[in-house]
């Protein structure tokens, strides 16, 4: 359960203060599928970063599973990110010198799992995403769609409750973008909360709930209706 109450975030750009988020309140139930849309600079990514504990709000309260995250220190926040949240980025952000399997393994290493269990879990995750045969390849030997699948495997290896995807198809062709969305929606059907930032209205329409952001505010918040399909 994600609960944002009156979250504000501003950045200093030169002499100007830019309000990325102005008193945003939002609640997302477990297992929800939320699309965040809006023009560039409307605060979509900042919202996602704050939900993912990558950024701290200047004002407001963020409760994650009834826990006030703004009180947590760096180490506790890192633990929350590790266990409850998985990130999928537009630019994949794979470590280039590590193989696909090693990239997927990273969160398990940080969490201190032993080598046997790590190996087991990584194999399972890669097989589930259909890239088991690519496990020894480095990212530059993989196609865009394969890279994003490795990234999804890494995001879900700790079995988090929430997947945060920032333009996950922004750097992919239509076909592989389609596959990636299918995978993410599948995870959502298994019960993971999926929050996706996207420019693409077509993708947005697939979500069960859409919010439209403009100038750091939530302009509209709609549940899916039959007319949209």
């Amino acid at each position: 359960m994600i609960e944002l109450q009156g979250i504000s975030r501003k950045f200093q750009v030169g002499n100007e203060a830019v309000h990325a988020l102005r008193s945003v309140s939002l609640g997302v139930k477990p297992g929800g599928y939320l699309a965040v849309m809006g023009p560039s600079g409307s605060g979509k990514s900042t919202l996602l970063n704050i939900i993912g504990l990558l950024d701290r709000p200047d004002q407001g309260v963020y409760l994650l599973d009834e826990q006030n995250t703004t009180d947590l220190n760096d180490r506790q926040q890192a633990a929350v990110r590790r266990h409850k949240i998985g990130f999928v980025f537009q630019f994949f952000h794979l470590v280039p010198r590590l193989t696909a399997a090693e990239n997927v393994e990273l969160p398990l290493i940080l969490a201190g799992f032993d080598a046997d269990e790590r190996k087991q879990r990584v194999q399972n995750a890669l097989s589930a995403l259909g890239i088991a045969d690519r496990s020894r390849h480095r990212p530059d030997q993989l196609s865009g769609g394969q890279r994003q699948r490795v990234a999804i495997a890494r995001a879900t290896i700790m079995r988090p409750g929430i997947i945060l995807a920032d333009e996950p198809t922004g750097n992919l062709d239509r076909a592989s973008g389609r596959e990636v969305i299918d995978i993410l929606e599948n995870l959502n059907k298994q019960g993971m909360t999926l929050i996706m930032v996207t420019h693409d209205p077509e993708l947005g329409r697939r979500a069960s709930r859409r919010i439209q952001m403009i100038d750091g505010r939530i302009q509209s918040d709609k549940a899916q209706t039959h007319e949209d399909i």
């Binding site: 970063n49 890192a78 990110r81 010198r97 290493i109 940080l110």
Partner: protein, 401 residues
Amino acid sequence: MRTFDVVRFSFRSATGFRTRTLLILLAMAIGVGAVIMLTALGEGARLYVTREFTSLGTHLLIVLPGRSETTGGPPPLLGETPRDLTLDDALSLKHSSAIRRVAPIAIGSAPVSWQQRSREVTIMGSTAELFDIRQLSMAQGRFLPAGKPTLQTAVCVLGYKVKNELFGNASPLGKWLRIGGRRFRVIGVLTPKGQSLGTDMGDIAIIPVASAQALFNTSSLFRVIIQASGRDSVARAKKAVLDTIRDRHEGEDDVTVITQDALLSTFDRIFTALTLTVAGIAAISLAVAGILIMNVMMISVSQRTTEIGLMKAIGASGGQVLRLFLSESAVLSAIGALLGVMLALIGTWTSLRLYPDFPVTIPWWSLIAAIGVGMLTGLIFGVLPARRAAGLEPVEALSRR
């Protein structure tokens, strides 16, 4: 995060960034290698001097005519002319119980010729006791006969080099050769012993001291070498020498006595200080290596900003990032230090090959100190970049591509 995984991750990033890794390894290896090499050279110099002195013999005192000490006060009105040290002076020293052997030495240079060959050679006049004092050994024949030192006997002992140059492979024993204007019969040849304190014992001819004095037409001695009866009696022997000579020289202290031990320990102190100084200079090069490591790690942090952001996004705390980067500098400096040790070993080996006389040895303490200081430098200079990495804001780090 498990320690093994941290180290493995560091190894992976070390092999992932070749140029950077090579630079750091090079800096560290040169720093550590320099420390070890320079201390080895200092230690070698110390050993060299010590060895030179012990090759002279043990528990030795050297009596030189004249005083080298300054006494202060007004200069004497009547000039002090030191008396010569004579053969009788030297022989009178034998009466002390603290003194076991006495070898008077008269030295000069004269042409030595046999048949058509002639060589200018250092002629040393001495007695049979020189053999034991200088720890000489014979290749052929025997040394000067023990007998009355005042007797002028026409025999000589040759250094191996002189013998080779005059006689080649033929045996010189019993042959008569000419030294200066006199004829001497060769009774022995020394084994090669090498240099000792500037006198090449190969390029020498030894004759009885009385013969040498007659040859050079002098009654004075170059010096007297004395062997004390034991290590404890060196001080007593020194006093006995001074007392005896003072008695014989009408109350004048006009000889200088140098004890081998005093010389040795002075040189020892000087060379230890020198070694430490050189090691200190080398330590500065290690610090320079440390700064280079810091720079390269700093660049590495900026290059890997995105990676650090990602690590944080997938749940690494600042502390974990710090550990990863610190262990990376530690791993790199450890490997660098090992390479430095190898470099130093190769260096000493080569120098031993080129200059076998100069005993370059790596003292064990310098090995441990160099590796320890090297690792420490790597860690200390790794802290700043690692802290910078740990403090990066994940959002900013990720937004860069």
